[in-house]
């Protein structure tokens, strides 16, 4: 089918046992109400989710792959910034 000009939306789903919304994919829809319905139909067919977020793709700003080094490399050297010297109790192991 030819491009009808419907905007693209990114879909984030939080699963039943999840703590945060995870990117599930993208779809075309006329507006946010239809995007939520379509996301429910396309991405939660097998009970994957309890909560859906949709965002217009154009509203998402992403870090550029070219800037990976300036953005992320220095932090790896600075051990004093990493909170790895604490003993985490079992209950918050996922932190």
């Amino acid at each position: 089918m030819s491009d009808t000009g419907l905007p693209l939306w990114e879909v984030f789903i939080r699963g039943r046992r999840g703590l945060s919304h995870v990117h599930a994919g993208s779809l075309h829809a006329a507006d946010e109400a239809m995007a939520l319905r379509n996301a429910r139909d396309v991405y939660t067919r097998r009970s994957e989710g309890v909560s859906i977020w949709v965002v217009r793709s154009q509203d998402i700003s992403a870090s550029s792959p070219d800037e990976k080094d300036p953005f992320f490399a220095p932090a790896a050297d600075k051990v004093y910034r990493h909170p790895t010297f604490y003993d985490l109790p079992e209950e918050v192991r996922q932190m």
Partner: protein, 233 residues
Amino acid sequence: MLSQRLSEWASRAPEIEEDIALTNIALDLLGQARALLDYAAVVEGGTRDEDDLAYLRTEREFRNVHLVEQENGDFAHTIARQLFFSTYQLFLYEELISSTDELLAGVAAKAVKEAAYHHDHAALWTVRLGDGTDDSRRRMQAAVDRLWPFTAELFDADDVETGLAAQGIAVDPATLRPRWVRAISDTFTTATLVIPPTVWTSHGGRRGVHTECFGYLLAEMQYLHRLHPGASW
């Protein structure tokens, strides 16, 4: 029967998301049909099961309303038909939850959530198509005009139904009509569509008398089963 009709949209819908939405609705309806046909076979008490009822009954033994057998037409026609039928189903199942028959109440409790979603889907589309471009409004109004004569039959009841309703088992469809008209009117107002004047109405489905579309629909649905009786996948 509506599930069968909706399945014709698979791979033909305007957008892939809509393809999945319509076929999901078809699957929901099929689930409801299976539960009800299965129960019908039990109540009948004979040797027929749900498959026999679905695939071996002849045209005159099917009692669905004419609205569901109408051709899909363009997307506007399908949405108009969905709006009319899913609104009716929503109110029907809401009432049927209080049926004195346990199984019907159970089917209704599950189906009402599906019907709520189907109604939501159809209403959202009706508003967007009606209050959309001139072209979409023209098509949507044409669809409404064409399908309106088939809506009266939704509220027909024969003696069997009114008898069961008196016992608290079934719902008298006529009681759903005022709520249905109000819901449709509200949606149409937002969608800038008008309810057409009632010039003629179609009836007879519940007596087994169907429109000309039905024969083709039934043939396609049943021919494989009849071609290989007793086969399993």
